[in-house]
């Protein structure tokens, strides 16, 4: 926070960078704001679904209807359509939890007074992608056995034998090693870049008004209007990224469960 104020107070404008995301811990402890937001998001998601089904009735009330349609959107739109009719049931709770946990954490980026997307810290996104990596590999190995699973993931169907030495290492690299990294980086980079853009417009507007004067009195408020517009654009991106993360999780699970071709 103090580095933000300093960026504005300096004579020359210092563009905000990755250092703006290194928040100090509360009261000099190692416990930082993103960690607190993770816990808060878990509580919000739990409370929403717990309250929405607490008094379950055949004709749903407003809250129960909201909870059921949120659950149904992920269950039918993602889990059933992608993983397929007879395998998707065990993964519905996982995918629903993951979608809403990421969604709430992303929405913190635009929520007034919180305004910090948790996954703009790369480590948080890596941890989440690690969970998904362990799950889809474990599911695939349990279904096909270790050898069968590796064959499924690394040997593409309908390829001549002499191409295999070239393709197998590439497929292994892309399907086993790079997948979790791109999964995590996609979420992280979108949250990071969006938030950085909002910081840039906010601090830039303040700098124009305080230090430049003249035309800065017109350009500064204009930059703040853009900062607000970017925040609304971010709402769309935040939802989309939660959806994409869950969609790719479902695709990977489907790929691990697929029959031998």
């Amino acid at each position: 926070m103090s580095s933000l104020a300093m960026a504005v107070r300096a004579e020359e404008f210092n563009a905000p960078g990755p250092s703006n995301f290194d928040l100090p811990g509360f009261f000099d402890s190692g416990f930082t704001k993103p960690m607190a937001l993770l816990i808060l998001a878990a509580i919000i998601v739990f409370a929403f679904f717990f309250l929405s089904i607490r008094r379950g009735s055949l004709v749903p009330g407003k809250l129960q209807f909201a909870g059921e349609s949120a659950y149904g959107m992920v269950r039918n739109g993602l889990a059933r359509d992608i993983i397929g009719g007879h395998d998707f049931r065990p993964f519905v709770p996982y995918l629903v939890t993951m979608f809403f946990f990421i969604l709430v954490n992303n929405l913190f980026g635009s929520f007034p007074f919180i305004q910090f997307p948790t996954f703009s810290r790369a480590s948080m996104a890596y941890a989440l992608a690690g969970v998904s990596w362990v799950l889809y590999n474990w599911v695939g190995i349990r279904r096909h056995g270790l050898g069968g699973y590796l064959k499924l993931q690394t040997v593409p169907a309908g390829v001549q034998v002499f191409m295999l030495p070239l393709l197998v290492p590439l497929e292994f690299f892309s399907n086993i090693l790079v997948r979790p990294v791109t999964l995590a980086l996609r979420l992280f980079a979108n949250m990071f870049a969006g938030h950085l853009l909002a910081i840039l417009f906010a601090t830039g507007g303040l700098y124009l008004i305080r230090e430049v004067g003249g035309i800065g009195y017109i350009a500064g408020p204009l930059a703040w209007v853009l900062a607000i517009a970017i925040t609304f654009l971010e709402l769309l991106v935040q939802f989309l990224q939660a959806y994409v993360f869950t969609l790719l999780n479902a695709m990977y699970l489907q790929g691990a469960l697929a029959e031998e071709h």
Binding site: P18, L185, R186, L247, L248
Partner: protein, 67 residues
């Protein structure tokens, strides 16, 4: 104001995924315009293609900071 060539390079590298994502959604929109009832099926495919094209831009931004 400081910076380095990496950022210019990343800006150039982001053109490719930008064009790619534009093409994907153009195809999605015209597909839905021709056959509105196919929207739910096309949507998942379009978003998957968007995610794959975006992965290139993401690898770019990671390398822009790392290199």
């Amino acid at each position: 104001m400081d910076g380095n060539l990496n950022m210019i390079g990343y800006g150039l590298a982001a053109i490719g995924p930008g064009v790619g994502i534009g093409l994907i959604f153009a195809a999605y929109i015209s597909g839905v315009a021709r056959q509105p009832e196919a929207q739910s099926r096309l949507q998942a495919i379009a978003i998957l293609g968007f995610a794959l094209a975006e992965a290139l831009a993401i690898i770019g931004i990671a390398l822009a900071f790392v290199l």
